[in-house]
């Protein structure tokens, strides 16, 4: 059900673990897109998912592991009702104030030419975003994308 989209029954699943190297941002996007393709998403849905994934993975690399290299873990679950659930996690520095971090234009890295729009992109291009974070422990972003019904005519 749509109201329960964060807990829908899982049909298929992919896991990926990559070191936090920027070269892996493209890899992460491509892997998610390839996996989700089995549901025949529209081009727009796929573009939305790629962009949202890129934001979350980049945040792990740029912010989470700011002064170190660690692993970015990604889990993609294809659930009943054409619900795609994507979890992207790091064990980096964590976020002090998640509510503030999610505000449009908020960034702690203006010097690095960041626009502070990452979370806004994730929120606009998906159907739900949850962020759980603990200082010194890391951050997990869970995103839901509900794909439109297939037109089987």
């Amino acid at each position: 059900m749509k109201s329960n989209k964060f807990n829908a029954k899982v049909v298929n699943k992919m896991q990926l673990k990559l070191p936090s190297l920027s070269v892996n941002e493209g890899m992460a996007r491509a892997a998610v897109a390839a996996f989700v393709s089995q549901l025949d998403p529209t081009a727009t849905e796929l573009a939305d998912i790629k962009c949202a994934v890129s934001e979350a993975v980049t945040n792990c690399i740029v912010h989470g592991y700011r002064d170190s290299v660690g692993y970015v873990r990604m889990t993609v679950k294809l659930c009943e009702g054409r619900i795609v659930r994507i979890e992207i996690a790091d064990k980096g520095c964590g976020i002090a104030d998640v509510k503030q971090a999610r505000q449009p234009l908020f960034t702690t890295d203006a010097a690095g030419e960041r626009s502070g729009m990452g979370f806004t992109v994730m929120e606009s291009f998906t159907d739900g975003v949850r962020v759980s974070s603990k200082l010194g422990k890391g951050t997990t972003v869970t995103m839901i994308k509900v794909l439109a019904d297939l037109d089987l005519t």
Partner: protein
């Protein structure tokens, strides 16, 4: 993957940079430094950023455009973004970047008005 290249063309006071590939945090770093040395050297009045060859861009691209906008302001010029594809356009509009820089939708509009005085085409390939 995560690779981007650009070519550029200097036409009088205008500099037209055509980006190709995916613009993300990884590729933006190289594009930024390549473009900035060009901007400081040429000091154009206007930078045309041709995005017609870009089929993916995330918020790192917003930072890239906003950063070039600031640099062009510093050297006394402006930025025009040309032909973003629908996906890139959505990211641009989401950030309200279309209120900061002009977006031109067709290639003939972009550099067509002023006849080129000198035309130099060079290619910059970035890793």
């Amino acid at each position: 993957m995560g690779r981007a290249t650009f070519t550029y063309e200097e036409t009088g006071y205008f500099l037209r940079v055509k980006l190709k590939g995916d613009i993300d945090h990884h590729s933006a770093v190289a594009i930024r430094s390549g473009m900035d040395s060009l901007l400081y050297k040429i000091r154009p009045r206007r930078l045309y950023l041709d995005l017609s060859g870009v089929d993916f861009m995330d918020s790192s691209g917003l930072g890239l455009i906003m950063g070039r906008y600031a640099l062009m302001k510093e050297i006394g010029g402006d930025v025009v973004v040309c032909d973003p594809c629908p996906g890139v356009d959505r990211v641009i509009k989401l950030a309200g970047l279309d209120k900061l820089v002009r977006i031109e939708r067709s290639k003939t509009d972009a550099a067509g008005q002023d006849k080129p005085r000198s035309r130099r085409v060079r290619k910059e390939v970035l890793k």
